[in-house]
């Protein structure tokens, strides 16, 4: 085996937008708030017996909300990083399960931008770089719109130079 010298990859340099944790928190808070309203309705309108059930449900909601609205967005913001070189695009993402993914720009097939309602409200954008493999798509999430536009332009410029059918 012609194993080369040991190689490690340093983490990519660029963080997502400063507004990313806020957007993620709001996105996570909406379903939990719906659940909380449902519980209030259950307690106030439908049935206020079974005190232990109400207390348990309320505790689960409070803990779940604290984890997914406060802890997870901050954790994700600490983990998420991205970087682009003329040869490759490289990201780090996740929180409990963390992924580092690298793909060569010569094999890029499409570059998509996605803006959800919340993203539009806060001026964010998500860039997805797909390759010929369904397992090889690289997602750079929660970028400022201006940064996203620059990234897309940069990627399409480099990708256009490459030839071949990218498989």
């Amino acid at each position: 085996m012609s194993q080369r010298a040991a190689v490690t990859l340093v983490d990519p340099a660029n963080p997502p937008s400063r507004k990313a944790p806020l957007v993620w928190a709001i996105g996570a808070a909406i379903p939990w708030l719906v659940l909380a309203v449902g519980q209030v309705v259950w307690f106030a309108v439908v049935d206020d017996r079974l005190a232990w059930a109400h207390v348990t449900a309320a505790a689960v909601t409070v803990v779940g909300m604290a984890v997914f609205v406060i802890v997870v967005p901050l954790w994700r913001y600490r983990v998420h990083r991205w970087d682009i070189s003329p040869q490759a695009v490289y990201t780090r993402s996740g929180w409990l399960v963390q992924e580092r993914r690298i793909a060569p720009i010569s094999r890029v097939q499409t570059v998509d931008t996605y803006r959800g309602p919340l993203d539009r409200l806060f001026g964010l954008a998500n860039v997805t770089v797909t390759t010929a493999s369904s397992a090889g798509a690289v997602r750079i999430v929660a970028l400022d719109s201006a940064v996203a536009d620059r990234v897309v332009g940069q990627l399409t410029d480099i990708a256009a130079i490459g030839a071949g059918d990218a498989t």
């Binding site: 040991a6 490690t8 983490d11 409990l96 094999r107 493999s133």
Partner: protein, 472 residues
């Protein structure tokens, strides 16, 4: 051709025909039956008249549909493989179904299938359809005649009783019987009565045992029969850059693979097949689905045959059968903890239960047997786990119940992922995932030491080692 459609239409509409016969006999007017049979046949004939195909310079078109017109068109440079598939009736009439695949997942309607073309026309159609990709290969073929890589042997049948296909078929048959409402009829039949009498005479244990033996024997018989019918007469032939696979006794199938799209192969050894020294071989190709029958090159056969065929295809003997590098103590520990968590939890539950109620002795024996099985599986997993990498091939081996050795061409890898769960980070290991456009699209190297993961990626893909983030 004009015969196949009506007959298959009649066969497909059997439930309708049964209904027609019932209506006919119930109303006492057998014209109902005749009318419905005639309509079905007429529909089949119409299907033939309304189906046309056209081969143009840059695309092929198939127009079908009696009431709903449908046009499927494929760009010719996207055609990846051409398969033929002849059922019994087709074979009797010298016909075959020709399927064109672009490697995209297609379901029923959008599939490009020419139902019933003459067998003699297939080579011509195939060379026209694959003209772009096989032109060079045809010339080479003219110079050097094809070489046979493998041929089905009767002894391969010894691996087939060890699969669950027979059992699955029995369960499916039982399900269909009950759904059709025949279950109730059976329960009151004389056969069931005599069965119940026999059960009462011999006792419950004996009759359950007999029933079990009968089911096992039937399942084994069906598995062997299915294997014989599906894979009998299999031949794998290589003509320079084209791979021809032919199999089937009653239903003849033929696949043509373009060797230039081959990105490796997977040797799969389910536990029971492995115990008898067997293996099956799947091709890893772009444009061919990664799992199931589409990518199958060899059904369970002696491991030496599978290895020699794969060696012939990828021309690297070490990749196919060379030793692999183990993943170290952390990965070993993870295999053991994963294997033993379940029996330990069960045993703890049993100990807890024993504190309150009397636990029968067989329960302890069962837990001990479970623990032993899990321990053996964990040990086998540890032994299997490993990888091997050079600048041309990535090899990943893993698994016990379903052991697989994936051999992936380094040049076909178009992306790398290093994934770490919370527990993997604590153990200092990572799962390395190679993304490719071929086969099942992602191939995993499980629980490699974290510091080694990017070295493996860098060895197979120089662009990783040369990237601006690499540090050695």
């Amino acid at each position: 051709m004009l015969l196949v459609h009506p007959v298959h239409e009649v066969l497909r509409q059997i439930p309708l025909l049964v209904g027609a016969v019932v209506v006919g006999s119930a109303t006492g007017n057998s014209w109902w039956t005749v009318a419905i049979v005639a309509l079905t046949i007429a529909f089949g004939v119409l299907r033939w008249f309304t189906t046309t195909y056209r081969i143009e310079t840059d695309e092929v078109q198939l127009r079908t549909g009696v009431l709903q017109r449908k046009v499927v068109s494929l760009p010719r440079n996207r055609i990846r493989s051409v398969q033929t598939d002849a059922r019994l009736l087709h074979q009797l009439l010298g016909l075959t179904v020709l399927r064109v695949s672009t490697g995209q997942q297609v379901r029923g309607d959008t599939e490009f299938a020419l139902d019933a073309v003459r067998v003699e026309e297939v080579p011509r159609l195939r060379s026209i359809l694959l003209a772009d990709s096989l032109a060079a290969a045809d010339q080479a073929e003219a110079q050097a005649p094809g070489r046979q890589l493998a041929r089905w042997q009767l002894s391969w049948l010894r691996y087939s009783p060890l699969s669950f296909t027979g059992l699955a078929m029995i369960l499916a048959a039982v399900g269909v019987t009950y759904q059709a409402g025949l279950g109730a009829i059976l329960e009151h039949s004389r056969l069931a009565e005599s069965g119940r009498d026999a059960a009462q005479r011999f006792g419950v244990v004996a009759s359950v045992a007999v029933f079990g033996v009968v089911v096992v024997l039937a399942s084994v018989g069906l598995s062997v029969l299915r294997s014989l019918v599906t894979f009998g007469n299999l031949t794998l032939r290589r003509d320079a850059e084209v791979l021809h696979l032919q199999h089937g006794l009653l239903r003849k199938r033929e696949h043509t693979f373009d060797m230039r799209r081959l990105r490796g192969g997977t040797l799969r050894q389910p536990l029971l097949v492995r115990l008898l020294g067997g293996a099956r071989l799947d091709a890893v190709m772009t444009g061919v689905a990664g799992a199931g029958e589409a990518s199958l090159l060899l059904p369970p056969c002696p491991v030496r045959t599978a290895e020699s065929v794969l060696t012939d295809l990828i021309a690297d003997v070490n990749t196919v059968s060379g030793p692999v590098r183990g993943h170290g103590p952390a990965a070993t520990r993870r295999r053991w903890t994963r294997g033993l968590v379940f029996p330990v939890v069960v045993a703890a539950g049993l100990v807890l239960a024993a504190a309150f109620v009397a636990v029968p002795p067989w329960a302890w024996i069962a837990v001990a047997a479970l623990a032993l099985t899990c321990a053996l599986l964990a040990a086998d997993r540890v032994r299997a786990l490993g990888h091997r990498v050079d600048d041309r091939w990535l090899v990943a081996r893993a698994g016990s119940l379903e052991r697989r050795r994936d051999c992936i061409a380094a040049e076909g890898i178009i992306g790398w992922t290093v994934r770490q769960t919370f527990f993997q980070r604590r153990a200092g290991v990572a799962t390395l995932i190679a993304a490719t456009a071929a086969g099942v699209k992602h191939y995993q190297v499980i629980d490699v030491p974290a510091e080694l993961s990017w070295s493996i990626a860098g060895t197979a893909s120089p662009w990783v080692a040369d990237s601006e983030w690499a540090r050695s």
